[in-house]
């Protein structure tokens, strides 16, 4: 067994664990537990990013998904899981439909991955040999610097594309979302005693 085999073994172990946790999200009947399984799934995905040498994306996955989105999901789930929603029982028809959709999606992904020569042909072969663990010399893989330059309009990557326009669009999008969220969460003005009684939840 050589070192790349060991790295492949580790990668498959993490991938299988992530898959098992994802199955746990679907299978478990307690909704807060499925949020906990989702935490491990997202953590596993971040681990896969780290394996592929993309530390910046892995850390972003952790800070955005785990630290942000999942916290929101768990808050929402915990505070609204009352009565009939605390235990989820999926009927047989739902199982059948979701299995069909899931298998179809899996088929599409498997076919795409199997034909990767067609969509990976633009990449030079030497760049495919990304090390699966963190590089010994960290400055040799300056991916966060590259990403930063790409956002500011410098062409990066093998296809020499710049990402300034998508960056600006996403920034404006985020600003709109922030304003919308602040507006939706504002303290509502009271319009008298009747409105007071209706406001109490």
């Amino acid at each position: 067994m050589t070192l790349p085999d060991l790295q492949a073994l580790l990668f498959y172990a993490v991938a299988v664990l992530t898959g098992l946790c994802a199955i746990g999200v679907v299978v478990t009947q307690n909704i807060v537990r499925s949020a906990a399984w989702l935490l491990f799934t997202l953590g596993g995905v971040a681990g896969i990013f780290f394996f592929l040498g993309a530390d910046f994306v892995g850390a972003t996955q952790l800070i955005v998904y785990v630290g942000g989105t999942l916290v929101l999901v768990v808050f929402g789930v915990m505070l609204t899981a009352q009565g009939p929603f605390i235990s989820l029982r999926t009927g047989a028809a739902e199982w059948a439909m979701s299995l069909v959709v899931g298998l179809l999606l899996f088929g599409v992904l498997a076919v795409t991955v199997a034909h990767k020569e067609t969509w990976a042909s633009g990449r030079a072969p030497a760049e495919k040999q990304k090390p699966m663990v963190i590089a010994e010399d960290p400055d040799s893989s300056p991916n966060s610097v590259l990403i930063g330059h790409g956002f500011l309009g410098q062409p990066i990557g093998p296809n020499k594309t710049a990402y300034l326009l998508p960056f600006e669009i996403v920034s404006v999008h985020l600003l709109v979302v922030l304003i919308g969220a602040a507006y939706l969460a504002r303290a509502k003005r009271r319009r008298g005693a009747a409105a007071n009684a209706a406001d109490v939840r």
């Binding site: 530390d55 910046f56 942000g68 999942l70 768990v74 663990v133 960290p138 966060s144």
Partner: protein, 407 residues
């Protein structure tokens, strides 16, 4: 370090096997050293906390276990926690109840993987070390939430909710304040940032410009809040919530939360020291920038002294956190959120803007020489305060009663 270890192993095994085993063995060794360090630090901090609490409250703290100063008090505490009955409440969600402490501790421990104790003395020398540490410590919130919900008690749920809201909110100004020295340094790699502060005391980023100076204090405040230390410790507010999210935890599970708290205190202090206060560089020798103690004393002695300096600096910051805890009263939850969202967040945004403009618009003369003035002023201030404390003893509170410290 992998090459070194594989060469060492090649003395006993073949080269191929050595190349295979070396990374695994290195990972195991680094992990064990870090876990040992975290556990020993927790042992020391628990004792220190009780002594500091005692002295600030005008009493002695533990003095019986292990001699005059109660050195072994933490061991006694640990033994007590180990032999306690492992209770899980009937209403608790078993899986989540058990899971909470481990997630909290693992999240705090993962941050240590990227924390350098010397030049190159780090488990994972990442390009984005400081970003990684912030990202991974944000997973600690989950341990709190799952513990609060899974305990099945309303005190825990309230404590967990408040705590999660507080930690999530304080991450934002904390990250922005971390960005301030990163902008000055030009890199997110903690080893590089600390190496840039080598040399004399004036090279430290805290003296670099007024925005970095302010960012140090704001970062320290946000770090204290994100570690749920007083005055932001409503998650454990004994006067209100019994014990907050860890009410139903006893014995070893509770000690995991405690270790997680002390580990993250050390980790955020470590980030503060590396970003602002020069990391492992003592501010005096060697005084030429770009040189390190390892150039003079060799790799072993130099790195040991560097690690020692770094650990002592971190312990000083943790001591300041403890000092503040036992001095200031607790803030209410609305005061906590108001501090974060109405004060610290705008301040940190202004600091970010300020440091960017400073780097771009200030003439080079100011950039180069302001730090000498700032360092001199700060050192002078500290010396003046110490001199005043030593030269004129504080008057005794009660006449005729011999104080404890006058032996």
């Amino acid at each position: 370090m992998t090459d070194l270890l594989s060469k060492l192993l090649a003395l006993f095994l073949e080269q191929d096997t050595a190349n295979l085993i070396a990374p695994i063995l290195l990972a195991i060794i680094q992990g064990s050293v870090l876990v040992g360090f975290v556990a020993l630090s927790a042992v020391f901090f628990i004792w220190l906390e009780r002594k500091v609490a005692g002295r600030i409250q005008d009493r002695l703290g533990p003095t019986r276990v292990g001699g005059k100063f109660g050195w072994l008090q933490t061991i006694a505490d640990g033994v007590k926690l180990l032999v306690k009955e492992d209770l899980i409440p009937a209403d608790a969600d078993h899986m989540l109840f058990r899971l909470g402490p481990y997630i909290a501790f693992c999240a705090s421990f993962l941050a240590f993987l990227a924390l350098p104790f010397g030049n190159g003395v780090v488990a994972l020398d990442m390009n984005i070390a400081v970003f990684y540490m912030l990202a991974v410590m944000s997973a600690e919130i989950f341990g709190i939430i799952l513990a609060g919900y899974g305990s099945g008690s309303k005190w825990s749920l309230f404590g967990g909710m408040r705590e999660a809201a507080q930690m999530v909110s304080y991450e934002v100004p904390m990250a922005i304040c971390v960005l301030v020295p990163v902008i000055v340094a030009g890199s997110m790699r903690l080893t590089t940032i600390a190496n840039q502060q080598a040399g004399l005391l004036c090279n430290w980023y805290v003296f670099h410009d007024p925005f970095t100076f302010a960012a140090f204090w704001v970062y320290f405040t946000c770090a204290t809040a994100s570690c749920k230390r007083a005055p932001f410790d409503l998650a454990e507010a004994e006067s209100e919530l019994v014990a907050g999210f860890h009410t139903e935890y006893s014995g070893l599970r509770w000690s995991f939360f405690f270790m997680a708290e002390y580990a993250s205190m050390f980790a955020v202090s470590g980030i503060a020291i590396l970003l602002f206060c020069g990391g492992w560089n003592n501010g005096f020798f060697p005084f030429l920038p770009g040189q390190d103690l390892t150039d003079y004393l060799g790799p072993i002695a130099g790195n040991v002294i560097n690690a020692f300096v770094f650990i002592v600096k971190c312990w000083l910051l943790v001591f300041v956190m403890m000092w503040v805890r036992w001095t200031l009263p607790r803030l209410r939850i609305d005061q906590v959120m108001e501090t974060c969202l109405k004060y610290l967040l705008p301040i940190s945004c202004a600091l970010l803007l300020g440091v960017s403009l400073w780097q771009v618009a200030m003439p080079d003369i100011v950039l180069d020489y302001l730090k000498y003035l700032a360092a001199l002023a700060c050192v002078g201030l500290v010396l003046a305060v110490v001199f005043k404390m030593v030269a004129r003893r504080a008057p005794l509170p009660f006449a005729g009663v011999t104080p404890l410290w006058k032996k």
